[in-house]
Symmetry: C2
Subunit: 523 residues, 2 copies
């Protein structure tokens, strides 16, 4: 990746949560309008109309005005149809508006603490999604959740894990829980359902109509975040069963919908989701290309976390590997970007054939014979955490190649569907933790992504989280999300027979058709 796309909002953007200076008129016998009515009237004049407050917040708002006097700042959040008056803070406090952005990932939940007024990230943390205990893949969880008490378990553990992590972030940063005014969350359709306590089972049943695609803005306490009594909760809407709020958020973060340049967004999480389009049209599809790319399927595969091998170089002469381990620890496994580099380097050094088989004619000092067949020792026993050699088998390579082939096939099909050649794409944004780590030259070399000038590729990190954070600082994103939601078309790949033929050619390294990868030299 050459450089990251700037996902920050404009400096003069209007945040979703505003803190506004209010000077209440002094009541008199001639105008003894009630205190809170004077407040809504003043806010109305300041352009925050209609302004309302929750019944349960009124008492506290009155007490705060009593304490602060008639000059103060009101904190307001836009809530679908009106401005919700969230809090009263001292007139001198010009900042003091904080919020959380949350990416509700199937495997990992990423939480960012945002200084809304300052448009700054204060802290970011990742939490293992505790639902994994009841199913690593989303489908097992959906089946588990068919019992209402299990659905409730999935919801509660998720909320609690988020709340616990948020509490810790607040402690570390010195921000008060009472200063949190919004939680902006995005997740895939199933995660959104779990989060809201809705049964997601219809997502995986024809005609794939979810229980809900849009979610009202509510107080965070309504969903169990009792820690933040003055906080609203926004959950990004879903487009449908296979295109969730995380993708919508990512599209907005990448800015796909803002320019006439046609671009592509590839989000590799537990699943692979791909969007192509521009400000006039958007097409999305999703496919099961993810697990191996995230390191999930290969026997020694793992996420891009400390202990994971994420870079591999192989000496063309000695065929000895040189690996980098995240956190400079002893190796525990290999992550998705590590696998891409391993396969690319094995191919370039002729250890792997174009079919993805070990080259048995080669005298490679790292080859090992195991009961399950030949393997390549990527790390020696002295280099690993468990003191055993880290072996990559031909089966592992095969599994990985299926994932990379699925990815390339998906990209090919979606472009063909919209009648575009790869070379007509102006930008290709690669999102997800995967996108942060991969070397696009390596990914091209193995035929996972199209053979295009490398400067078209942009790793944009967690775009779902970035979009959720942007919404906090720029409320025009609400309209943008609605626009994207109404214009996006979902292409069903599961029922697409084209996929299989595309897939077969892409199982080779880089492809059966060398014309598709002119830049890749045959070793």
């Amino acid at each position: 990746m050459r450089h990251s796309c700037d996902i920050a909002v404009k400096a003069d953007s209007h945040p979703l949560i505003e803190s506004v200076a209010v000077e209440l008129p002094v009541p008199s016998l001639n105008d003894n309008t009630a205190l809170l009515d004077r407040l809504t009237r003043s806010l109305d004049r300041l352009g925050f109309s209609p302004a309302r407050m929750a019944g349960s917040r009124m008492e506290e708002l009155v007490l705060k005005i009593d304490r602060l006097g008639l000059s103060f700042r009101a904190v307001l959040g836009w809530a679908d149809t009106h401005w919700e008056i969230l809090d009263i803070i001292p007139a001198s406090l010009e900042g003091g508006v904080f919020a959380f952005a949350v990416d509700l990932g199937t495997t990992t939940v990423i939480i960012r603490l945002v200084d809304v007024a300052g448009r700054k990230t204060l802290r970011e943390t990742s939490v293992n999604n505790p639902q994994v205990k009841w199913g690593e893949d989303i489908l097992s969880r959906i089946i588990f959740a068919r019992k209402p008490e299990n659905l409730s378990t999935l919801r509660t553990c998720l909320i609690q894990a988020c709340a616990q992590a948020m509490r810790k972030m607040l402690e570390e940063s010195g921000v008060e829980a009472s200063g949190i005014y919004a939680l902006s969350c995005a997740g895939n359709t199933a995660m959104s359902h779990f989060f809201w306590g809705l049964d997601p089972s219809s997502i995986c049943r024809e005609p794939y109509s979810p229980a809900a695609n849009t979610f009202p803005t509510v107080y965070a306490s309504e969903l169990g975040f009792d820690l933040f009594p003055a906080s609203l909760l926004y959950l990004f809407p879903n487009v449908g069963s296979y295109v969730g709020g995380d993708i919508l958020s990512g599209i907005v973060a990448a800015g796909l919908c803002k320019t006439m340049q046609t671009s592509m967004l590839i989000d590799v999480g537990t699943n692979a989701e791909v969007v192509v389009g521009n400000k006039e049209w958007l097409v999305a599809c999703a496919g099961a290309a993810g697990p191996a790319l995230e390191g999930g399927v290969v026997e020694r595969g793992m996420q891009a976390a400390p202990g994971a091998i994420d870079r591999v170089r192989i000496d063309r002469n000695t065929l000895e590997p040189d690996v980098r381990v995240i956190g400079e620890l002893k190796a525990q496994g290999i992550c998705g970007s590590g696998l891409i580099e391993l396969v690319a380097e094995m191919f370039s050094s002729k250890i792997l054939t174009i079919q993805g088989k070990f080259n048995t004619e080669l005298a490679c000092p790292r080859f090992r014979d195991t009961p399950e067949g030949r393997a390549y020792a990527l790390a020696l026993s002295s280099q690993t955490a468990d003191g055993k050699e880290l072996l990559i088998s031909e089966i592992d390579i095969g599994v990985f190649l299926k994932s990379k082939a699925a990815m390339y096939a998906i990209l090919s099909i979606i472009c063909r569907k919209v009648g575009l050649g790869f070379d007509e794409l102006q930008n290709i944004y690669i999102a997800g933790s995967f996108g942060n780590h991969i070397d696009s030259e390596m990914a091209v070399r193995i035929g996972m992504i199209p053979d295009l000038p490398l400067d078209k590729y942009h790793g944009i990190g967690n775009s779902s989280l970035a979009g959720a954070a942007m919404l906090l600082c720029d409320r025009t994103i609400l309209a943008e999300v609605e626009k994207v939601r109404s214009m996006i078309t979902y292409v069903e790949l599961n029922v697409n027979i084209e996929l299989m033929s595309e897939f077969r050619g892409a199982l080779f390294i880089p492809h059966t058709d060398p014309r598709l990868f002119p830049s890749v030299r045959r070793p």
Copy 2:
């Protein structure tokens, strides 16, 4: 009173809570819009726009649709800015929409169970306001409530007393708590504050600006009515410290604001509130004329409840009284309407002088001498619950005459303020339990109300409760309430020196100026 004003709504009125037949489109691969989004879209087409649902209700709505299929009825309530989707009920259930109307009285809370679709009262009950324990008069309670924990006590005991009475009404009527979709409540400004948990202390402090005059529509559970998870709660807005939601509700119930005929509404509760006007203008005032009229101040005074003497006739020759006791029990005390009749009859039979003193020249068999002075034995020991004679002293009469004088003075002043003679009033509506019982001829005879043709007087019972019930069955009343609230002018009597001179003349029976009561014959 000759006849009661009809407070029912039009037969074709649109209720605040609607149950509407919905036929959801069957989802398909071509249109697999999410279930709840299909619901809001269908409701939008039916004219319920924008329709929203609470985050916490979504799960249940989905479960109910799953159970009932795509053909059902949706129950919706208007909530300030949108239609709130409250429930999903079977398509066959055309009624099934119930609600409570509540008059939050200082002394007594009256609750009515309403069949909204049928526009029928199913049951009505009255509950002693448990706050009386911490102060009979509202001022003591306001002082008590200055400590937040006391305010919370007042709020909680009120909610609990209402909920308990409602539960009992449901049991008796066989209506399910889940079929309650609205609580429509009205009370004076202090009671509204207590109900909402707001400190009402600024109500009785210059410039008499309350904490809140308007209250958002909330879920009843937000205020502690956990019994009704699908119910909205509406609290009538206040005009100001001295004109509360109960008066607004009464004005609407009496229909003052709907005609060009100028009329008067007199609501005698713990306080006396008077409104004069028509569809173009409305003036309100309030004064401390109530307690004695409700029977509160006289030593043996009591509310119009079983055991209270509410009718009195005195034989002009024997000077012996003939009394009626509510519930045909032995007498425990005398209520407001009983006092009016007692004083009127004592005056007509010359037991009382025009100054309100006992006529000592008269040989009355019921006169008694007590250490506190002369008294009249209204009931003999054989007729009373405690076996002692029920005595009315000259002091009692004096206290009562102060109340009736205050009432007449208030009526005079408000009419003078708006430049009207009493004879220009087309209708005089007397509300409150008091209004249900008094005989207007008797009230005229003692000079409490103006000497007008008796057919101008209408006892309309509890108009606050009636207005609250009407709102449930006719949502145009929301707009009417807002109209009345914006056009009503409050006249402050507490600081009015005219009151005293008016008051002095009215202390006599019927008045020092006999020209004001031409129909009253001097005995």
